[in-house]
């Protein structure tokens, strides 16, 4: 058990190091000069002043040092929890900017991923046992899972937002309300949350339902199911076993999905102008904000790694076969 997790942690640490390096490289080798764009925004006409400001900013962001130093500084700052200062909203530290957006993204992602997972698996399991349900769930599932996130998002925004006018189409909350812990604000928050949530939830739902249906059918045809039927065991017991065993590949799927969904949420957030990490990424790119971009990517990488590690642990708990594998030779 110790060795297994030790090995896993090593792999995660390596992945993290590579991700951090790539993360550091991408904005620096991207075309464009962020300092120049800041100066252009400052709109200063005197050449001396421009030169002084350039020196100041370059020094401030550490861009005057050789690349390898910048790289080492980056790691050093990382361990101090310092992601640097944002260029786009200049004096604000990157960590503050990210922390402002994280609750929105997590509030959107966690419910949509987990709910679609549980609901989808349930629907799939039911579909596997009823012909009528199977004939309806399967086609709907295929359509849903083939739908691009953003297209469904646009469709929902247009249908329920613009035409029906039931839900607001943009923002995390109304502009007329200041964020506070009042009931009004929370209700408004929820109101704005519904559409982006549904667009993510529905697309993921179809995939889970189809996957589960196929897995259950496979498990019900398996040898242990046949043996139990031959011994006259009731369908209830056989289905219970099949459901649990069919769940295992779905858990792996969940781990994979978590990484992909971050990207899915990005476009969804942009469609709904939702103030989460996705919108932040777009703004950071548009404003050539190295530090903000790095910070967000790092955050996402960390999130995916942690989610995968949790799934690894869950897998060990639910599948005895991984546990025996860990012990090396079969005991």
């Amino acid at each position: 058990m110790r060795r297994y997790f030790g090995r896993k942690l090593l792999v995660y640490a390596l992945t993290f190091a590579v991700a951090v390096t790539v993360n550091w490289m991408i904005p620096r080798f991207m075309p464009g000069d962020p300092v120049a764009s800041m100066l252009a925004r400052a709109n200063v006409s005197q050449p001396q002043a421009v030169e002084a400001m350039r020196t100041y900013y370059t020094n401030l962001f550490g861009l005057d040092e050789p690349l390898w130093r910048q790289y080492l500084n980056f790691w050093g700052a990382l361990f101090r929890g310092d992601f640097g200062t944002s260029i786009w909203v200049f004096p604000t530290p990157v960590s503050t900017v990210i922390m402002g957006a994280v609750p929105y993204t997590l509030g959107l992602m966690i419910p949509s991923v987990l709910l679609s997972y549980f609901v989808g698996n349930r629907i799939g399991a039911y579909a596997a046992r009823r012909k009528l349900l199977d004939n309806t769930v399967l086609p709907v599932g295929y359509v849903l899972t083939a739908t691009p996130y953003m297209w469904l998002a646009v469709l929902l925004a247009w249908g329920l937002g613009v035409v029906a006018g039931v839900f607001p189409v943009a923002g995390g909350y109304s502009f007329s309300i200041r964020p506070s812990l009042s009931a009004d604000f929370l209700l408004d928050l929820l109101h704005h949350w519904v559409l982006p949530f549904f667009s993510l939830f529905l697309v993921a739902l179809g995939g889970w339902a189809i996957g589960m249906r196929n897995m259950i059918i496979y498990e019900l045809e398996s040898d242990y199911s046949n043996y139990l039927s031959a011994l006259g065991a009731p369908q209830r017991l056989i289905r219970r076993y099949a459901f649990r065993n069919a769940m295992l590949p779905q858990i792996t799927g969940l781990a994979l999905q978590l990484g992909v969904l971050v990207a899915g949420a990005l476009v969804t957030e942009i469609v709904f102008a939702y103030p989460g990490l996705g919108s932040l990424i777009l703004k950071a790119i548009q404003n050539q904000d190295f530090f903000l971009l790095q910070g967000i990517f790092l955050f996402i990488v960390l999130g995916v790694l942690i989610a995968n590690f949790v799934i690894d642990i869950v897998y060990v708990l639910v599948d005895p076969r991984t546990r025996t594998g860990m012990a090396g030779a079969s005991a």
């Binding site: 031959a230 011994l231 076993y241 076969r321 025996t324």
Partner: protein
Amino acid sequence: MSLRVTDLRVHYKTLKGDVRALDGVSFDVGDGEILGLAGESGCGKTTLGKSLIRMDGRMRHVGGKVELDGEELPIGDDRRMNPFRFHKVSLVPQYSMSAMNPTRKIGRMVGELLRSRGVALDQATLESRLDLVGLPREVLQRYPIELSGGMKQRMVMVISTLLDPSLLIADEITSALDVSTQKSVATALAGFRESGVVKSMVFITHDLSLTYQIADTIMVMYAGKLAEKAPAKTMVEAPRHPYTKLLIDSLPEVGVRHTERRLAGIAGSPPSLLDPPAGCRFRDRCPLAFDRCAQEPPPVEVEPGHVVACWKADA
């Protein structure tokens, strides 16, 4: 008489029509008798085994009946058959290696299975059965993956016989095992009969020499019909049906160098059961075939307990 099968006909529904996998088979198995069921693949032996406990979705009970201890088994009716399964008729399947739920500890699975059939788990019986097949009691705390193939096979045998069924069907259970394990599994099966756990047994295999070691009676099937049924010794030493003769001739013998004497086989292959030819089904491959074989030979008891379906059985 423990099991009596009369003119049993079971067909497989296919898009091209019915495949007559069992086309009128009759036989008896007495109390305490082990019947070895042999034949090449496609002869209907597995279909027969399945028909006695659980038909799969494509199988149709077309005719004939099966009686166990004087009671007729509703083999064509899955729901009505259920009370008989496990209690009266039980199965050691071909796929014992994967017959247990991989994510449950064996002991827990057995408990859940018994409870679902409304029987309380009797720990003492379970343990004595484990002793009988030579499994340590710790296996109940293990997952199936932690057991070797032979251990899984014996564990499944223990589970299947836990409710002391009257009839046990063992379907090709030794095919996936190496020779030494085959022997121990066969011995364990015979042990179940000796200790009275099961009354009678149908042992399905394509391995005639293994059948000979544990069966009292051997029945050879060909293309969905009975070819010959006789006490094991008679079957091997004095077979009457030309198919059985050729089948036994094609077995390798210990001590014979096959570089010197080529091993005989049976030329040709069995007829399609989709639309089988009239008359004796072995006719096309039979060295003794003559005009009369165009009519179907009825099974005839040539000696007590020795039934042959061949016009030349006396020859």
